[in-house]
C-alpha cells in the first residue's frame, strides 16, 4: 500500500462558459480519516473531484495530491484510486475490465483477483457488465479504485444504488481503509447516507464552500433542545406540562415540547404518568445540513479548521 497523502484544494475554480460551476474552493483532506464531500445535486462535487484527477481542467486554482497534480504522479493509480461513475463497456466482463485497467496502469495481474475478492465481486467476475445491477457496478468501480492498492481513495457517490447490506458493508470497509492510514474522500448528496461513516465533512452548494470541519463540530452547532414524548395517559401529561408552563403540541409522533427530555421525564414522574416514548427532537443534523446548503449567509465558520 502506498501511504496516505494530503489532498489540497487551493482556490479551485471552474467556469463552463458563463456558468461558475465551482468558485474558489479552499480545503484540505487528511489521511487516516474518512471525509464526506457533501452538497446537493449540481453543487459542483463531481466537477471538483474531476479537477483533482485531471479529467477537467481548472479555470484557476490547483488541486494536488501530496503536493503534486494528478498527471504528474509517477504511477497515478498506485497513489490515487478513483471511482467516478461506475461506467464500463457492457460487453466486457468485470474481470476483463479490471485486467485492461491494470495493464494500462502497469499493475500486476494478481491484483485483479485480489480486488475482486476484496469487494465480493469474485462470483460475478466473468459475467458481462451489461447484466450487472447498479450495486454490482458500484462494487466493480470500487474494485477498480483499489487495483493499485492506493493510499488515496476518491469515490463519487459510492453508496448510490447499494442495497442495505451493501451500504453496511461499504461503511465499515471505508472506515477500515482510513484506519490503515489512507485518505478517503467520499461524495454524497445525502448527509444521512454517510453520517455513520465520515469523520470530517466538507459541504459545498452552488459551487461554493459552506462548511469544513469535523462531523462532531457540525453536530455541535445543531439546536436540539426539545422533546417528543408519548404516554397512554396523554391528558394527564399534557395537564402536568402545561401546569409547569410549557406549550404542548400534539403531532403524529407524539407530544412535542420545547423542553429537554430530562425535564420532561421529571415532570412525568412527579405527575405519576408512565411514558411510552421519550426522545430529543429539534433541528437534527440533516436539518443543519439542509440549512447550510440552502442559506448562503450561513457558512458555519465555527467548525472551520484549516
Amino acid at each position: 500500500m502506498s501511504t496516505g497523502q494530503t489532498l489540497v484544494f487551493d482556490g479551485v475554480t471552474k467556469h463552463f462558459g458563463p456558468v461558475a460551476a465551482v468558485e474558489g474552493l479552499d480545503f484540505t483532506v487528511e489521511p487516516g480519516r474518512v471525509t464526506g464531500f457533501l452538497g446537493p445535486n449540481g453543487a459542483g462535487k463531481t466537477t471538483t473531484l474531476r479537477m483533482l484527477l485531471g479529467l477537467v481542467a481548472a479555470t484557476s486554482g490547483t488541486a494536488t495530491i501530496g503536493g503534486k497534480a494528478y498527471r504528474d504522479l509517477e504511477n497515478p493509480m498506485r497513489v490515487v484510486g478513483a471511482s467516478l461513475e461506475a461506467a464500463f463497456h457492457p460487453g466486457r466482463s468485470g474481470r476483463a475490465h479490471l485486467a485492461v485497467t491494470a495493464a494500462a496502469a502497469g499493475i500486476p495481474r494478481d491484483r485483479v483477483t485480489a480486488v475482486l475478492e476484496q469487494t465480493g465481486m469474485a462470483p460475478y467476475a466473468d459475467r458481462r457488465v451489461g447484466g450487472y445491477s447498479m450495486g454490482m457496478r458500484q462494487r466493480l468501480g470500487l474494485a477498480t479504485a483499489l487495483l493499485g492498492d492506493p493510499g488515496v481513495l476518491v469515490l463519487d457517490e459510492p453508496i448510490n444504488g447499494l442495497d442495505p447490506e451493501g451500504i453496511r458493508w461499504i461503511r465499515s470497509f471505508l472506515q477500515a481503509l482510513a484506519a490503515e492510514g489512507r485518505t478517503v474522500l467520499v461524495s454524497s448528496h445525502l448527509l444521512s447516507e454517510v453520517q455513520q461513516t465520515v469523520d470530517d465533512v466538507v459541504v459545498i452548494a452552488g459551487g461554493k464552500l459552506r462548511y469544513v470541519g469535523t462531523l462532531a463540530a457540525l453536530e455541535g452547532t445543531s439546536t436540539a433542545n426539545g422533546s417528543v414524548v408519548d404516554t397512554p395517559d396523554r391528558a394527564v401529561l399534557i395537564a402536568a406540562l402545561e401546569a409547569a408552563g410549557h406549550d404542548v403540541r400534539v403531532e403524529a409522533e407524539g407530544l412535542v415540547v420545547e423542553l429537554a427530555p430530562v425535564e420532561v421525564g421529571r415532570i412525568a414522574l412527579a405527575a405519576g404518568v408512565a411514558l411510552s416514548a421519550l426522545a430529543a427532537s429539534g433541528a437534527g443534523l440533516e436539518d443543519e445540513f439542509l440549512a447550510l446548503v440552502a442559506d448562503p449567509e450561513r457558512a458555519a465558520e465555527g467548525g472551520r479548521q484549516r
Binding site: R50, L55, V56, P76, E85, R92, A99, A104, G106
Partner: protein, 269 residues
C-alpha cells in the same frame, strides 16, 4: 514504457469484446461474396467494345475486392476504438490509468494499424480464397505464381492498415459514435463515389479527385474495381502506389492532429 502499457491495454480491450471478430466475419462474407461474384461474371461475360479487360487484369481486380469493398471495415473499427469509449463513458478511467492523453491516442493508432492489417489478411483470405478457385474453374489466370501479384497483396494489407489509422483519426475528430459512423458511410458510399464519377468528365476535376482518400487507397493497391469502371480514367494518371500511401497516411495525420488539438483535450465531464 507507458506507451507499451497503453498499447497492451488497447489490445486487451479489443480481445475482450466481440466487435473485432464480428466485423471480421462480416468483412469475410462481404468481400468473399463480391470477389467470387466478380470473378464469375467477368469470366463468362464476352468482351464488349469500350470495356476491355486484359487477361492479366482480372485476377488483381478480383483480389483487390479486399480493399475495394472491405476498406470501410478498418475505418469503422478504428473510429469505434475511440467513439465507444466516449459512448460508454469509459474514457475517464482510461485517462486515470494513462493521464498523458497523447500516449492513449498513440496506443490507439498502433492498435488501429495492426487491426487494419489483420482485416487486410482476412479480406485477402476471402478475395483470394474464394476468388481464385472461381477464376481457376472458369479457365482464367489466377496469377498466384506471379511475384507482382504477391506484391499487390502486400500493398492491400498496408492499405487496410492505413485505413485503420484513418479510422482512429476520424474517431478522435468526431467522438460521437453515430456522427462518426454516419460520416464514414456517407463519405465512402456517396460523396466520394459521386466525386470520382464526376471526375471522369473533366480533367481538372480528375486532378483533384485523385487525391481523395479512396483514390489514394486505390492508387496504393494499384488495381480496383472502381478505377477500372469509373475512376480516374479521364486522361488523368493516378498517383504512384507510394504516393497513394503517403496521401492516405497524410489524411490520418491531418484529421488526427485536428482531433488531438480539439476534442481530445476537452474536459471529461
Amino acid at each position: 514504457m507507458t506507451l507499451l502499457r497503453a498499447v497492451s491495454a488497447e489490445f486487451l480491450k479489443i480481445l475482450t469484446t466481440r466487435l473485432w471478430w464480428v466485423l471480421a466475419l462480416i468483412l469475410f462474407g462481404y468481400v468473399g461474396f463480391s470477389a467470387a461474384a466478380i470473378a464469375f461474371f467477368l469470366s463468362i461475360t464476352p468482351e464488349q467494345p469500350g470495356m476491355v479487360i486484359p487477361d492479366d487484369f482480372l485476377a488483381p481486380l478480383v483480389y483487390s475486392m479486399a480493399t475495394a469493398t472491405g476498406y470501410v471495415f478498418p475505418i469503422i473499427f478504428g473510429a469505434m476504438s475511440i467513439t465507444s469509449e466516449v459512448r460508454h463513458r469509459t474514457i475517464g478511467t482510461v485517462f486515470l490509468a494513462t493521464p498523458t492523453r497523447s500516449v492513449v491516442l498513440a496506443a490507439k493508432a498502433v492498435a488501429g494499424l495492426v487491426l487494419g492489417a489483420v482485416y487486410g489478411v482476412v479480406g485477402l483470405a476471402a478475395s483470394v480464397g474464394l476468388g481464385a478457385p472461381v477464376l481457376a474453374a472458369t479457365g482464367q489466370e489466377t496469377l498466384l505464381a506471379d511475384g507482382d501479384t504477391w506484391l499487390m497483396l502486400g500493398r492491400i494489407v498496408l492499405a487496410m492498415a492505413l485505413w485503420g489509422l484513418v479510422g482512429v483519426a476520424l474517431g478522435v475528430l468526431i467522438p460521437s459514435q453515430i456522427g462518426s459512423i454516419v460520416t464514414i458511410i456517407a463519405f465512402t458510399q456517396f460523396v466520394e463515389p459521386i466525386l470520382r464519377t464526376a471526375a471522369a468528365f473533366a480533367d481538372w476535376l480528375g486532378e483533384v479527385a485523385k487525391f481523395l482518400p479512396g483514390s489514394a487507397g486505390d492508387a496504393l493497391v494499384g488495381a480496383s474495381f472502381f478505377s477500372v469502371f469509373a475512376g480516374t480514367s479521364g486522361g488523368v494518371a493516378p498517383l504512384e502506389w507510394w504516393q497513394g500511401g503517403l496521401v492516405l497516411a497524410g489524411y490520418a495525420v491531418l484529421l488526427g492532429a485536428i482531433g488531438a488539438a480539439t476534442t481530445w483535450r476537452r474536459d471529461v465531464t
